[in-house]
């Protein structure tokens, strides 16, 4: 089962290493992990996507909670939420292929953020499926480089992933 876990942590050095260490010490693979500051600069928000059976995941959630610098852990499995991933793709493009690539980008509502005589950089946000579809469409043109931020997630409506006092 795929789980999206949102972790609020103290914005201090070493916290990422603690969390990564917790996963690696238990032989647990992380699909993606993204970190950034939140509305409160003392708190960072991590979104971790993992796969594993329920028992192992429960243990991981408890272990995360046990870390001193972790403020709150939420599993989004049964929470209505939106997920986004951002991708940048540098694809080979010359005068004969450029317009076709632009068309594809247009269909996906992706943006062109750099252009050169031989390449284009395309930026797109979306969920995993949409990003993978775009990658598939661009593969025939030869992808030179690809970078993704990893998934970030937020619950819909008034459900907040905030610290409760």
């Amino acid at each position: 089962m795929r789980h999206t876990i949102v972790v609020l942590v103290e914005n201090k050095s070493g916290v990422l290493a603690r969390i990564a260490g917790l996963f690696s010490a238990r032989g647990f693979n992380i699909d993606s992990l993204s970190v950034g500051e939140t509305e409160d600069f003392t708190i960072s928000r991590m979104t971790i996507v993992v796969r594993g059976d329920e028992q192992i995941l429960e243990q991981v959630m408890k272990q995360l909670n046990k870390l001193i610098d972790v403020i709150k852990v939420s599993d989004f499995l049964n929470v209505r939420h939106v997920e986004r991933d951002l991708v940048m793709i540098k694809v080979k493009a010359n005068s004969s292929t450029r317009s076709e690539i632009l068309q594809i980008a247009d269909i996906f509502r992706a943006k062109i953020i750099d252009v050169s005589a031989k390449t284009l950089i395309i930026e797109m946000t979306g969920n995993k499926d949409k990003i993978e579809a775009l990658i598939k469409m661009l593969q025939p043109f030869e992808i030179e480089e690809l970078a993704r931020t990893g998934i970030i997630a937020m619950s819909r409506g008034m459900n907040k992933t905030k610290i409760e006092n």
């Binding site: 942590v9 103290e10 050095s13 070493g14 290493a17 603690r18 260490g21 010490a25 028992q55 429960e58 243990q59 408890k62 272990q63 909670n65 046990k66 001193i68 610098d69 972790v70 403020i71 610290i163």
Partner: protein, 564 residues
Amino acid sequence: MKLTGSQIFVECLKEQKVEILFGIPGGVLLPIFDALYDAPIKFILARHEQGAAHMADGYARVSGEVGVCIATSGPGATNLTTGLATAHMDSIPMVAFTGQVATSLIGNDAFQEADTTGITRSITKHNYLVKDVKNLAKIIREAFYIARSGRPGPVLIDLPVDVQKAVTEFSSSGKKVEIRSYKPNCSGHLQQIKKAVELISKSKQPVIYAGGGVVLSGGSEQLRELAEITQIPVTTTLMGMGSFPSYSELFLGMLGMHGTHYANFAMQQSDLIIAVGSRFDDRITAKIDAFAPHAKIIHIDIDPTSIGKNVKVDIPIVGDVKNVLKKLNETVFQEKDKFRKNRLEKWHEQIKKWKENNPLKYKEDDKLRPQFIMEKIYEATKGKAIIVTEVGQNQMWAQQFYKYDYPRHFLTSGGLGTMGYGFPAAIGAKIACPEKLVFDIAGDGSFQMNIQELATAAQNKIAVIVVVLNNNCLGMVRQWQELFYEKRYSATVFSGNPDFVKVAEAYNLEGLRITKKEEVEPALEKAIAMKKTVVLDFNIEKEENVFPMVPAGVPLDEIISGLA
């Protein structure tokens, strides 16, 4: 007032009522040791940082206070790690300070530099690298709070040399430490407790399985009360020894790999296990799929990660053992008509039979056997001594053939199984409790892993009785080779052992050699009277084994008895 980092270090230790510090100085700790020179804190100079860490650990286990140790950067810090991991596995409250190279040099592969917070991250409850002197006081206060609260454990603070010298404003604080991301739940959920009492009242073959958490929380009295009002038999783990009095009819001894037959049988046949401050470690469950097949499980523990980790739990109760047991006992008392005295009569009879048929025993002949020595130590001390062990056969014999009636009187590296733990921990224990007799029950293998601390005992005039159960080999591994590897004694037999009596004498301490049964009593009497560290070299039977034994990978009740 303006103080240097080193002065703040001293002020904060005073604030935490630290009276004693174990460690070894080094280049990057010079500012701190200069501040310690006239501070009202006693410093015990160890001979190896691992020794210092185990001393702080032994001190903490006996006193219930936070043990404090200090080591220099690089090799000092790496030497400390075994001691930290030992304390971490056994949930012992400790604060360790390490020196670090100047902040400007961190990451440059400077002289005696190691990434101490990186290395110790997984063997401490928490750790800090202090980069700004302004945060130092707050960090030290937090460290002590984290070490002693919740599930206790070691916390490390890495102190760069420039931070020790830097000056900042310091004010002493009476404020309680508040950490928004760390709020251990100590109280125990009342609804869960009520459900537990209901389940207990319905059980016909219940067992209480108590661990180190009972000792750490100070809940021994509550445990005894629970057992007495419900008449439920009690088995303890190695870490739980002393949390329940051995003289009680309800006591089953230790369970697990070298546990008693009756404790293991009772676990396997039980319909309800009440786990109290214990964690279903692999040495306890044996083959996990076959563990206690008919039992429902109530699990009381302060650490939610311990619950449901190895076995499925029916009623989890997160909270401090003492608090939860208090509430549990109150609830039992309110419903005492459900707990008639003779309600478990059949179960008690069954256990009595098991006890009669399978007592702990050893071959009683004219040979010098370790079990006999332990029994004699018990007689000589009337069970009132603090027994510290090394790891291996000595540890198991010490557990089996000495009776433990009081908490904080049996110190052993239960989780990590650290050979070399016993002697330095015994030194720490004696410092915490100078009026008690302290024994280190050792093997010739493990004693040699921290034998250098004889100098620490000599310099500080600390009286520990070291009982070397000397069989000239690494006994526990040799036992496994005998039983499971066709007696192919690969690398377990020593031929280079020193004369331990002479070693003691070389440090200006006492040494005695005992080779016959009849010499045991007089030797113990002599050692107790000496009031200084004595090494007793007992030349025991080489091929003596620890039984009963549940080999790896079989169910808990498939026990090898040893003696036909």
